[in-house]
């Protein structure tokens, strides 16, 4: 399989703080990669550099073979990179359906349209006329995922989908993942819930204090290795 996303020696600074330093990773087309790590490990910063919201101080981001390190965020969406941001960031004054429609602004052709999203999340379909701000956390997260899918991404980035949601809701949301990858979308997800990450990912990439502490196939790394890489201590 060909490489869809390739990050090389990435360094991103927040002022003097190097939030990400020397991180390299690649995701093959059709794969699911989970980036795990504790709070402040640099996971969200890494995603921001991949979407272009933050500009790296060193290193390179290549997408589908092209160097996109200096490409602006909205152009990357048109190329096929879409993100479900942490905290969902729905447009609170718009209805659910309008949120989805704004998600299609990049006008990329593909399998995802209003109907496909409503089929994937029937609950979202029921709430289509509702203001996005006036929904439960799970409904909002489903809407946020649907909104990102509306751009028909080749690469879907999911930032902390489970954050602040009840386990049963998280389970429902992740149940939609096979259908998303089944339509040919590659997924890179950031997750604090290691068990959840291992359940859905083909590969895992663990970060600790801005650096890569472990990477490998999810069925080939042991829990001991992960806890060492996650907390930075020998278990």
């Amino acid at each position: 399989m060909s490489t869809l996303l390739e990050v090389t020696d990435l360094e991103v600074r927040h002022g003097d703080l190097r939030a990400v330093q020397g991180v390299s990773l690649s995701v093959a087309e059709g794969d699911v990669l989970a980036v795990i790590g504790a709070n402040g490990a640099g996971k969200s910063t890494l995603l921001s550099a991949i979407t272009g919201l933050l500009r790296p101080s060193a290193g390179q981001v290549r997408f589908a073979g092209d160097d996109v390190t200096r490409v602006r965020p909205h152009t990357r969406v048109r190329l096929g990179v879409s993100m479900v941001p942490e905290g969902r960031r729905l447009f609170g004054s718009l209805t659910v359906e309008e949120n989805l429609q704004v998600g299609a602004s990049a006008k990329r052709p593909g399998p995802w349209d209003l109907k496909a999203v409503y089929d994937l999340f029937p609950l979202v379909a029921e709430r289509r006329a509702r203001r996005a701000g006036a929904m439960s956390g799970g409904e909002q997260q489903a809407t946020a995922i649907g909104r990102a899918l509306m751009s028909n991404p080749r690469l879907l980035l999911l930032d902390e989908v489970s954050l602040g949601l009840a386990p049963v809701v998280v389970k429902q949301l992740y149940a939609a993942l096979p259908e998303i990858t089944g339509k040919g979308t590659t997924v890179l997800l950031v997750e604090q819930d290691v068990r959840q990450a291992f359940a859905v990912a083909d590969h895992v990439h663990c970060m600790l204090e801005g650096r890569t502490s472990l990477e490998g196939r999810s069925d080939q790394v042991s829990m001991e290795q992960v806890s060492a890489a996650y907390f930075g201590v020998r278990a």
Partner: protein, 288 residues
């Protein structure tokens, strides 16, 4: 003049005030930017029309065909080239820059056109009116009011129903997130500024037909726009119309009581609303 007549004249005047205020409200709503040079854009529009009239003999109403699109282009450019650099968490840079722009425009106009009072001439139409019972209604004010209502209705529909309108509202909600949807937020800002400049330039030309103006008329127009926005409620198209009408009626009724107190009466009603209902008469509606 009877009290009823004063109220009707104020109502019609309110349409013009709403036109002044719409762009100010839109720019604040979308980019959280208060354009202190808003009044100067209106004055620029009026002088643009004046130049077209004296140089080419174009009727002021016809000159709108040039002035309005030119102002829209000026708005887009000003946003992309200057104002974009001031947008940020702090409102101070944009306030300083737009204040500076207003001074620059005032002085350029003074240097070019002197401080003389000007008026745009539409001939007999300026004073033409018809009688309805005791009321005397001018064709021009009525046309201005109708145009204002139609324009605001159009803007409201545009924001509520079209895909670009939806994107503008989404950008107003979260300018960062909208970039993740493939939207060029800066282009959206430019469009909002273009609409704002176009509507206020239209208001400036119409105002120049109805009353005198000078290169220094901008600040008073800005205050009127501010007051209409605050009275009506920020970020609400129909609130802006209501705010304009309340202000217009306050002024004409004030003038009916004592002709010297027209402007003061408007300010007093504004302060009253600010004290009693600081969120404005109509709260912000999400769809508009």
């Amino acid at each position: 003049m009877t009290l009823l007549n004063a109220v009707v004249q104020g109502l019609l005047l309110g349409g013009l005030y709403a036109l002044f205020a719409t762009g100010l409200s839109l720019m604040f709503g979308v980019m959280r930017l208060v354009n202190l040079a808003h009044g100067e854009v209106a004055v620029l529009g009026a002088f643009g029309s004046l130049v077209l009239g004296t140089a080419l003999g174009v009727n002021p109403l016809l000159s709108l065909l040039v002035v309005v699109p030119a102002s829209a282009a000026l708005g887009y450019l000003t946003q992309r080239v200057v104002l974009d650099r001031t947008v940020g968490p702090s409102p101070l840079p944009s306030l300083l820059v737009t204040f500076g722009l207003s001074i620059v425009v005032q002085n350029l106009l003074l240097a070019t056109f002197t401080a003389d009072q000007r008026r745009l001439d539409v001939g007999a139409l300026t004073t033409a009116s018809f009688r309805a019972g005791d009321l005397s209604i001018g064709y021009l004010p009525l046309a201005v009011f109708t145009t204002a209502v139609a324009l605001l209705a159009g803007l409201s529909l545009f924001l509520a129903r079209t895909s670009l309108g939806r994107i503008i509202r989404a950008t107003s909600d979260d300018p960062q997130a909208v970039r993740l949807m493939g939207v060029d937020a800066k282009h959206v800002y430019g469009i909002a500024a273009a609409i704002a400049f176009a509507t206020v330039a239209l208001a400036g030309v119409v105002n120049g037909i109805q009353t005198n103006f000078t290169p220094l008329s901008g600040p008073l127009l800005l205050i009127i726009a501010f007051e209409a926005v605050i009275i009506g409620g920020l970020g609400n198209v129909w609130g802006t119309l209501l705010g304009g009408v309340v202000l217009g009626v306050a002024q004409t009724v004030g003038a009916w009581i004592d002709p010297a107190q027209q402007i003061l009466a408007g300010h007093l009603v504004f302060l009253l609303v600010l004290a009693l209902r600081p969120q404005g008469l109509l709260p912000k509606m999400a769809a508009t």
